[in-house]
Symmetry: C2
Subunit: 333 residues, 2 copies
């Protein structure tokens, strides 16, 4: 079928019916034929999440390609499901709004990227909708079954340790590199760190392995209670959200920030780690015995601090408030 398609053909030359027929090939089951899609009874609680990706806000042609944008749109959603303790990804719906001048190739690559991610994480395209618009927008809703762990943001308790499932700041560093942004001096960085940073920005991973290890290593004598959030809006923001929902003070250890082993020293670099965003790691507040087991089964994990009684705020271990002053902080508005 592909051989017959001119990939540079524009959507307004293809026609709606043909567009939907072409999209359908990416769906094993699908809403396109029957308007709605069926989700077989799982006999379990479900969790659902919707995320928007808007061109020039969340992605653009300079910093990524459509196949990676499709991947990222799925990974971002599944990252949220992971932070709520998802057991199995059921699938996603895809709302795609694009200008009529968009090429079929762009749409095709988006769906390829979406399917790459679903092949990696599980789940199917359940359905969706497609419309013309002035700007490219992907609206993805992901659905999964909830496992036995209760990972609400409000579940942190004084005495917990705070653990990050991996390094932070890489994605934002990748964006700086892709944009040749002079905010941070990157000339002396190693080639491997640069590559890892760009990869983290363009094709981030949802922390499903970290979640599964967290679940499998829980000591038997403690309950399924932990607070978790993904660090999509940055490490510091993630810790703040847990503090706010759980009404605890977080004490972070400046010497144990979750940074890559090649990460440079310096205040700017610490700020990038704390506030870079789009890291898609799990930030978990949990009992020390569980935290230690997780560290053993998942070596990328790092204990970054602890929870204490007090106002919902984030402090360093010397008692000072954690403040960062990263330029160009990402905002949706």
């Amino acid at each position: 079928m592909h051989n017959q398609i001119n990939v540079n053909e524009k959507l307004n030359d293809i026609g709606e019916e043909e567009i939907l027929d072409r999209i359908k090939k990416y769906m094993e089951i699908g809403q396109i034929d029957d308007d709605t899609a069926l989700i077989k009874n799982t006999n379990k609680d479900l969790i659902i999440n919707t995320d928007l990706l808007v061109e020039d806000i969340h992605f653009n042609e300079t910093t990524s390609n459509p196949r990676n944008v499709g991947w990222k749109a799925v990974a971002v959603n599944i990252s949220d499901l992971a932070a709520s303790g998802v057991e199995e990804i059921i699938g996603i719906t895809v709302g795609l709004a694009v200008p009529p001048s968009t090429t079929w190739d762009w749409v095709d690559k988006i769906y390829e990227g979406i399917n790459d991610a679903l092949n990696e994480y599980g789940g199917k395209i359940l359905g969706g909708d497609c419309s013309s618009s002035k700007q490219k927008i992907l609206s993805i809703t992901a659905l999964g079954t909830k496992g036995k762990v209760n990972l609400h943001r409000s579940n942190a308790r004084p005495g917990d340790l705070i653990v990050a499932s991996g390094s932070h700041g890489l994605s934002r560093l990748g964006l700086y590199l892709l944009l040749s942004d002079p905010t941070i001096e990157t000339a002396n960085l190693s080639h491997s760190l640069k590559l890892k940073a760009i990869q983290s920005h363009q094709k981030p991973h949802a922390p499903l392995i970290a979640l599964r290890k967290l679940i499998n290593c829980k000591p038997k004598n403690i309950p399924w209670r932990a607070a978790a959030i993904d660090s999509s809006d940055g490490l510091l923001n993630a810790v703040k959200c847990i503090c706010k929902s759980s009404n605890c003070t977080a004490i972070l250890d400046e010497d144990n920030l979750p940074i890559n082993q090649e990460w440079p020293n310096g205040e700017n670099w610490n700020d990038l780690c704390l506030q870079g965003g789009e890291d898609f790691e799990l930030i978990v507040s949990l009992p020390p015995s569980w935290a230690k087991e997780w560290m053993i089964s998942m070596p990328s994990c790092k204990i970054i601090g602890k929870m204490e009684e007090g106002y919902p705020e984030v402090k360093w271990s010397n008692g000072q408030m954690v403040k960062v002053s990263l330029k160009n902080e990402f905002k949706h508005f």
Copy 2:
């Protein structure tokens, strides 16, 4: 709380955190606090549907107001669930992309309209996402439990009757009136027909009552088998979709088009009925005994034709193909 809010305040003056706090008041449970929302085990199959509403494609400031846009975004989705035999609406997620210059009042009214519709049809706002964009876009995903009736498009059989749950063409007539579009001569229409047409366009109803009556009136000696689709893309298109999926010929009766009692005669008016679109009625192909029971319990229903063996096409009872030539046919691309 409302008294303290300046409704003309623009989103880029409010800030992201405050915007999300304000949206949260519309959610009983919600994703905003915990990234994902929990859907309690229903022990049933579920059906899911995603629809996009894009400004200047599906709505604009001339033809509607934000409260009605919010209502319609939900009703359009639930209409699709109805055509798949939904039993109970669980809820929706709302992806809202709007320019930063949008007023809070506009967003507030959208959510009011969304809640109006959920109060009418059931279900809650489960969560969502909000981002800035160049154009106003609403992406709604609706989720419900599936009842015992199997309403796939492919379930039509020769010998079925084809029944429409209500009148067609009103919504498109309403749009013509709102735009003072000269395509059709409206000077002699009654005031009540005009009002009904505008209402049908601005605040359409999802056919949940028609579905419930369809389910409750099924004769006991026949199986739960019928083909259904909603007429969101027009009556003729709906019948064609059933023919295509079920591989049958539909024979329509020109004297029994599903028109309002005040609808004028004439080819243009018949075309408007057949192809106007956004009617959100159920078009059902089902055994005659069931069709007759449905007619009794739902007087707005009309038998518009029957299914025969043959190519997947739509003919008049005189054997001619049903063709319409409505100007300005609605297209997504």
